[in-house]
Subunit: 335 residues, 2 copies
DNA sequence: TTGAAAGCGCTAACAT
DNA sequence: ATGTTAGCGCTTTCAA
């Protein structure tokens, strides 16, 4: 049925250890036997079993990826970059969508551990940090984070400078003359940072920080829609809304349309992530871009480095965000 | 370091085979020892190694997924549904984006085989069907397809009725009074069917089939944009364009805007897939919906069935498409 | 009801 | 330069 190393050895008239050596390019083998063995492997269409070799302590060549939601365009893009880079480095990716729910996070974590992954990339909330902390303590495999971070855990992380990104976005709005700026964000760490940036900007410009202008909700366009509808029906409604991500911004623009408010004339909207949605929307969305490609590639490299040689200190990489001004923001002159 | 079955056995004062039996719920074990063993497993935080058990011939609990592009919203949605259902059934998903390129398809196939997956779900073109045919012949694991099909291969497949879907879409346009209807589609099997449906409708209504109205290109909004720009600069330009998928439709609408053509007044556009893009676009896109959730769930069930009990005949399931009329299509009165 | 032992396919000393 | 052999952690007869 399945060809094993024994059959190759027999057919080639050598021992299995010789075959093993030519497979892994270890030890010293004469050019002659190497060729013969390789030839037989071809003929028999032999594929070494990763399972068997993993059992002897070698790598499984599988990286686990815990990601919030693969059907969210931002995460899909992140996942794709991670997959690309992993493949270049000879690894596979096992993807798990957690919806940022603790139950799923736990569940997947335990399943992945059983599977003997070589490393784990996390792009999920882990509101309960203990769950992840345990995995790190166990040290069965290295863990790195992307697009999020947990300061109190000793872990490499790669993300955009959320604070700076939101600082750019909020400043942009203020400089356009907006004074009543609301924010709709998600309850995850990256978004908390974005809220902080927003608050700081408003503070610097002596603009009032209204509780009712700060909404926390889930990252779907429906939720963005609802939150925006509520904000826009306020007596003193905002003239600009900063969204924690493009998906929310999408919902906001929809809500504005539903209320017959012109974007950007009557309402400016800024998003975050620069996903495909931002270019597709009408008006095209002003948003904060993250260098997803570089980040995805880097996080894989960091993980593999860590597998080869655990570092004593942890890197927290902050990539630089860029404000992409499109059509959804305009100046606000009225008093 | 890692707890093994031996340590559990020792701690519980039984043999490893006894432990194995309580893990797998096989053989006859007294309630008493079962409890004791379970207790020890908890205490030692024992996680059976899937790798070791796979080596003895059991399942790896991993399903491979060969998908065109996980960052395309349609495939992302498909992937998410497959992941959800797989998880419910106790399986993991190893995702591989192929971009419909033969090299990547081959490459991933060989890697997945080494990894000893239990089954494979394919949502990739396989223009070279031999590559996939070989995998099926080898019978190392069952293979099923989703959102595509290869008629000449003995394989379960789950897809929407592409012909009917495009028939609906094209009829809709004809009934709105359009006579100059173009189509931009991708070079994959599902899209070929969609083109056929389009042709048949035009034929039935005695509308001319112009070569220049049929464009084949890749599934990105950029390509859709380019193709549309070309179509719309034709002397006798189409009054409606049917897109093989929403991503292409997105590009078409953008092109129309660039040329200052009003959609739908001066140009009607129909998409396919009913992804998030179709609701986000302005005007909202008339498109053909696929029951992705059901399809994803079904394909996983089919695969698992096949793992348990290979069937002698193959099922080709056609789900019913639904035309969702939104704002991008309007009647055409002018002669 | 339980345990001993062979074996899954491979790697890595250790011999030769 | 090549082969022998002892595991890796688990499942599964077969005995007891």
């Amino acid at each position: 049925m399945k060809t094993t190393i024994y059959q190759v050895a027999q057919e080639a008239g050598v021992s299995i250890s010789t075959v093993s050596k030519v497979i892994n390019d270890t030890g010293r083998i004469s050019e002659e036997t190497r060729k013969k063995v390789k030839k037989v492997m071809k003929e028999l269409n032999y594929q070494p079993s990763v399972v068997a070799s993993a059992l002897t302590g070698k790598q499984t060549k599988v990286i686990g990826l815990l990601i919030a939601d693969i059907s969210n365009p931002f995460y899909a893009e992140v996942a794709r970059q991670i997959e690309n880079r992993s493949r270049e480095r000879g690894f596979h990716v096992m993807m798990c969508s957690t919806d940022n729910e603790e139950e799923k996070e736990k569940n997947y974590l335990s399943l992945l551990t059983r599977q003997r992954i070589d490393g784990l990339i996390v792009a999920s909330a882990f509101h309960n940090t203990d769950v992840l902390a345990k995995v790190i303590q166990n040290q069965k495999y290295p863990v790195v984070m992307i697009a999020s971070d947990i300061p109190k855990l000793p872990i490499h992380s790669v993300r955009v400078d959320d604070y700076q990104g939101s600082y750019l976005a909020a400043s942009h709005l203020v400089q356009l003359g907006h004074k009543r700026i609301a924010i709709i964000a998600e309850n995850i760490r990256s978004n908390h940072q974005r809220v902080t940036g927003y608050k700081d900007v408003l503070g610097e410009y002596d603009l009032p920080l209204l509780e009712e202008y700060m909404v926390q909700t889930e990252a779907t366009n429906e939720k963005g829609y609802e939150a925006a509808k509520q904000l826009l029906s306020l007596e003193n409604r905002p003239t600009a809304i900063f969204a924690g991500n493009d998906l929310l911004a999408t919902g906001i623009i929809k809500a504005a349309k539903g209320l017959n408010l012109d974007v950007p004339k009557q309402l400016s909207v800024v998003g975050f992530d620069n996903t495909i949605l931002s270019t597709v929307l009408t008006p095209a969305l002003t948003t904060v871009a993250q260098p997803i490609r570089e980040m995805g590639s880097k996080v894989v490299d960091l993980l593999i480095e860590e597998m080869e040689q655990p570092s004593k200190y942890k890197q927290r990489l902050l990539f630089t965000p860029e404000l992409i001004v499109r059509e959804s923001t305009a100046s606000w002159d009225r008093k």
